[in-house]
Symmetry: C2
Subunit: 492 residues, 2 copies
């Protein structure tokens, strides 16, 4: 039985939440009176399906069930959590909460509000303790931040439950210590926004120049370290205190116009909108979304490689899900079942995997095979812990046959068949499948190695036992196509 | 004869400039009266050597010559460009410029100043037209932004020359239209800094929480699109005008405290420094620098995969250098020379290339081979243009032998030997070398394909002619070790 979330308000933000819950295996009930809501959420889902699974190294759980409802009461039925993302009008939010709490009295309600404090949201509610802020950043299905902000009416258990739900869907909940308008992120965005509007108005820079000044410089830094850690480095070995001493006086210099606010009028709107058209008008919003998502997937995956910042959040989310996946895979060692190649991996072809022919670049076929074998090794008990204890399986030789092409966005599946095995080595063949098409076969010889002495030695008995069981079962299968041949050698 | 830059002031910023010039093949003369200057620049160079070459897909030019000088006059001798990065004291800068212009009257001087306008810098100079602002962001050897800001005394040729030099060392010069204190980037940084100090002072958030709010959310967005392009997306299909209408009124809400400035005193310094210690004190500044650099390399490479933003700058820089590299490689086709395997690629082992054994992951061996073959194909005239015209070479089969291990930061070299070739196919063997150690051999069969009909066809005559020439020359070489064998097959 899946867990269920209700999504009230199905715009870009509500749709992003829906996508995150669904792709993490939750059922989602949506209420939005907009007749276009289904179409809009379908568009967000299509973006999210192309992006979020690309961050995962563990197969995603089956997508949850998405339903649309004519009333708030129906949408929230059976839900343990509600994400409210309606317009920023306090009386509308109060009305929504009243209906939610009438239909499902104990339900936890998180609000996507960018500015209202929890204590504002809770006013007039019979159960104010169950209403809290969970403020995300767009695109919700990729950016991990959720600012969780409660009032003194929220007991600690409600904050903890909200935090846990955010973690369950792969987010990074940041609990805000004190109630404050606009929380943390939007205060910075507002400061930058005001400064930027002055620059446009004064003709100092165009929207495009301002964007370049951000993304070619400090914007790159801020995706991986924030303001303070970056400045700590700038202070050199003397650290933060030195930085403060050096740059503190600049606080008194006229380096921002933020003491004042530009007048918001038609002229300002025209200026910004026209410059933005000149800068980005060659792309539709849909195209920009996809470009943005691919870039963010690239950043997030590279942080994941380095186990840092948002990449650490992803890695921990994977680890939680990996245990469930591997337990399920253990059925592959079930000797009472009919022997068959083991499906050990699935993954998505990313932009960096494409060569100038427009196909998946050849080394990524071997990457897909490695991931398949790594999962297999974990399953037989020769994973990370085994390596840390000093033993490992090393690939000694590899023979790849390229049979068809995988393309951007394709889902690849790795199926492993054991050809032969003894205590010191095994030979396998992996078939890489896109749907029913075998795009490549990879035959490999792996040696079991004592890493300290750098010599091939027998595997630990419990590992060998599992490997032997599987090898015996797979001995009944026909020899995999292409195995045992040299490069260019004909069949037969 | 290398081009030469003088670096005046050898701190973190001056050292970063020195590294960028040196690694792009310029000679650099440094003047800094600090007795520690050599040690400090060596530390920056060590970071830069580990990071900047990792962004390049074309072998780097030979590193330029670094010299230290006792006087400004000696440092600037023979230089076509000076980067001044001394302390932010206007009288000191004026003194430096006077000495530079006395020793090398026509030299172009760019200043790293964070705040002074060009017209301030030019005061009292006999040649004000040659002094301009070129404001970088730390780390200078990785972040492409250079804010180029002149006064009305700088003729357009001086601005253009500065822009060209910035491009020559792989930077993104952003010419600022009007003189303004702190240019563009630092105005935003100052706004965010002021807001952040208020939050600390008011106890709303710690330095760590503020950093998380940035790097888990909008910081990730800003490395690839700036403020306006991001908000354009938030406006949905209705675009920027809709966004403005929706969020414009927030300008009047009390969402920032920026109308005011926190008092800069001991208490504030202690608060920030102590929290920063708690957040990041487990790392030395050196460690933080390296973590930052690896993250930035990851971001920049993923943008390069997507040809977007700063990644586009890198790609264009590579393309300029590729022409020179390939011209030099043509000597590999010189039949009068003694035949030898062709060194066609070099690259650096990056963090994402490492598996959980701590070695380079197996698919990256094949990646290194692909890069080697791609460069070879470009050299024989079967590169991007050839593919766009409808023909290409596809890898059909691959046999890899893993002989030793490459580790993080290793420089790998790919050497190609042709085994056999005809009009429709070739078989090669690539040796991947780390220093004198062969870490792997890769034997491959490539087919020449008409991409439209998906069939193997003869190569274009001019391509085949080059390939044949090389195959004939390499026929004299002994058969490469391991070629012609199946997985697990013994020698002989």
């Amino acid at each position: 039985m899946n867990r269920k979330a209700a999504i009230i308000g199905g715009g870009v933000i509500g749709g992003g939440w829906a996508a995150r819950f669904l792709l993490n295996g939750w059922d989602v009930g949506v209420f939005d009176p907009d007749p276009e809501a289904e179409r809009k959420i379908a568009a967000v889902m299509s973006n999210a399906r192309a992006a979020l699974p690309a961050l995962s190294d563990v197969p995603m759980p089956p997508e949850g069930k998405l339903t649309f409802h004519g009333t708030i009461g129906e949408a929230v039925e059976g839900a343990e959590y509600v994400q409210e993302s309606v317009s920023e009008r306090i009386e509308l939010k109060h009305k929504v909460y009243a209906q939610l709490q009438q239909a499902n009295p104990g339900v936890l309600i998180g609000s996507s509000t960018s500015g209202f404090k929890a204590s504002d949201l809770q006013k007039g509610s019979p159960a104010p303790q169950n209403i809290i802020v969970a403020h995300p950043f767009n695109p919700v299905y990729l950016l991990p931040l959720s600012e969780v902000s409660g009032s003194d009416r929220n007991p600690v258990e409600v904050v903890e439950k909200t935090v846990q739900i955010m973690k369950d869907i792969g987010m990074f909940p940041l609990v805000i210590r004190h109630e404050i308008d606009a929380f943390i992120g939007n205060r910075f965005l507002e400061a930058v926004w005001r400064e930027a509007l002055w620059m446009l108005k004064d003709g100092i820079a165009t929207t495009e120049e301002i964007d370049e000044a951000i993304r070619m410089g400090f914007g790159l830094r801020w995706g991986q370290m924030g303001l303070f850690e970056t400045y700590r480095i700038a202070g050199g070995e003397a650290g933060m205190r030195h930085f403060m001493a050096q740059f503190g006086p600049a606080l008194k210099w006229p380096w921002t116009k933020l003491m004042d606010v530009p007048e918001f009028n038609e002229e300002l709107v025209d200026l910004v909108a026209n410059q933005s058209d000149a800068q980005s008008g060659m792309y539709t919003i849909r195209e920009l979304e996809r470009i943005r998502d691919r870039n963010l997937v690239g950043f997030l995956r590279s942080l994941k490689d380095r186990n840092w910042g948002a990449g650490k959040v992803l890695k921990e989310h994977d680890e939680r899900r990996a245990a469930a996946f591997l337990a399920q895979m253990q059925t592959g060692l079930d000797t009472s079942a009919k022997p068959a190649p083991l499906v050990m991996w699935q993954g998505q072809v990313l932009p960096g995997w494409i060569d100038y022919n427009g196909h998946m670049t050849e080394s990524r076929y071997l990457f897909a095979c490695s991931e398949t074998v790594d999962n297999f090794l974990r399953m037989i008990g020769a994973g990370m812990d085994y390596v840390e204890a000093g033993h490992s399986y090393y690939a000694a030789e590899t023979h790849i046959r390229h049979l068809a092409e995988a393309k951007l966005g394709d889902q690849i599946r790795g199926e492993l068949q054991m050809i032969s095995a003894d205590e010191k080595r095994f030979r396998h063949s992996v078939r890489l499948m896109v749907g029913d098409t075998c795009v490549a076969t990879v035959e490999q010889l792996y040696l079991h190695v004592d890493m300290k002495v750098g010599k091939s030695v027998p595997a630990a008995p419990e590992v060998w036992k599992k490997l032997e069981t599987l090898a015996n079962a797979h001995a009944e299968l026909p020899m995999p196509d292409g195995a045992g041949r040299a490069v260019g050698q004909k069949k037969g």
